[in-house]
Symmetry: C2
């Protein structure tokens, strides 16, 4: 059981670092959102739409997580106030962002000049669910072509979400996706999550999400 | 560096078990295919199409990997000759199938009566790339709504693939997916992978894949 004990130790140490990150963010009155999704669900497009919806009155930093490559950071550069890229490198290091990486990224961000940090986690519905980064809100982006049964299979990430975005609503006529079945499956795991059907391609549903996020900032 | 050393040790032990699995499969003249993809790319539909295409002259066992739930095994039950479900449970145990799990599953399959084993890995483009299971062929299923830039971001899984299926070709008119850009990105990582554009929904492209797989079995 040596492996399990050590991984448990890593998770405990991560939690302590995450709490420290959250305290720093709170001191700077900066809200952090951890954005998690499968590969290709639309995390980067969602970040671009969110920045567009909140500008110019909200100052936004972005932390881009990826195993390799900087393609997403390049897309976000120029519209965010500040961007930091983290490459997790994959095993034997890590297959998800962990709190240590966010701590390093935060040191490279001008926290005094930011209201909001959007963290793009690696494209993975499994490992990111296990690691608290010190964020205030956890958002999971589903996409309609993935199918409506995914909450059953990736239960942990859905159970801990504050908001669930159902992206690619523009593809609903062409895919088998039952919105009621999907939301019921999430609701069975999670009583609090708020749902946002959305198309980051057409912009449908973005305003509702942006209004909710503004409200989260204002009431915290 | 304690964590990295231990994870490296786990990877080395996995490789030894994988070699053992492959030797057992070879002794039974049974070809094993490791099927990897992001959540919702269509792994289970692909397995159902493959079984349909190879029946009745190929005897097929399926190993279904999932963190939790048995929804995929239930779909395959009844069309495969034999099905074994593995629940990886996620961390601190494992976020992907590993060779130990396949060893246990193989003990529960009638290897003397099987020609082919299809292994459905967990929905994840990161962790499964790291673990040899003892398979003979590695197949990655991309899907057109994921976008054509995914090989850049999930390089390792594409670099080691023998075949790359590009599923959901029926959605090509509705999504931004440049087939040439995608195949070029894979080719930069991998000189040998064979491409199969496919729609598991309409059946387009399934025959080409099935013919290739039959040929792999015949010439091995």
């Amino acid at each position: 059981m040596r492996k399990i004990e050590i991984v448990q130790g890593i998770l405990d140490a991560n939690e302590a670092t995450a709490e420290g990150n959250r305290a720093v963010l709170d001191r700077h009155n900066c809200l952090a959102v951890n954005i998690m999704a499968a590969p290709g669900a639309g995390k980067t497009s969602f970040i671009l739409r969110t920045i567009e919806g909140l500008r110019p009155d909200t100052r936004i930093g972005v932390i881009e997580g990826d195993v390799v490559s900087t393609v997403d950071a390049e897309k976000v550069q120029g519209v965010a106030s500040a961007v930091v890229q983290i490459n997790t490198k994959g095993m034997p290091e890590s297959c998800a962002l962990v709190a240590d990486m966010i701590q390093v990224a935060m040191e490279r961000l001008p926290l005094d000049d930011l209201d909001l940090i959007l963290i793009e986690n690696v494209g993975n519905l499994l490992c990111p669910a296990e690691f608290d980064l010190g964020e205030h809100l956890r958002v999971v982006i589903a996409s309609t072509p993935e199918g409506d049964d995914k909450p059953l299979k990736y239960a942990l990430i859905y159970a801990d979400a504050d908001a669930v975005v159902i992206n690619k609503s523009d593809l609903l006529p062409y895919v088998d996706f039952d919105m009621d079945k999907f939301t019921r499956a999430v609701r069975n795991l999670n009583a609090r999550a708020v749902f946002f059907p959305m198309s980051c391609k057409t912009g449908e549903g973005v305003a509702e999400w942006v209004a909710w996020l503004r409200n989260q900032r204002a009431t915290r």
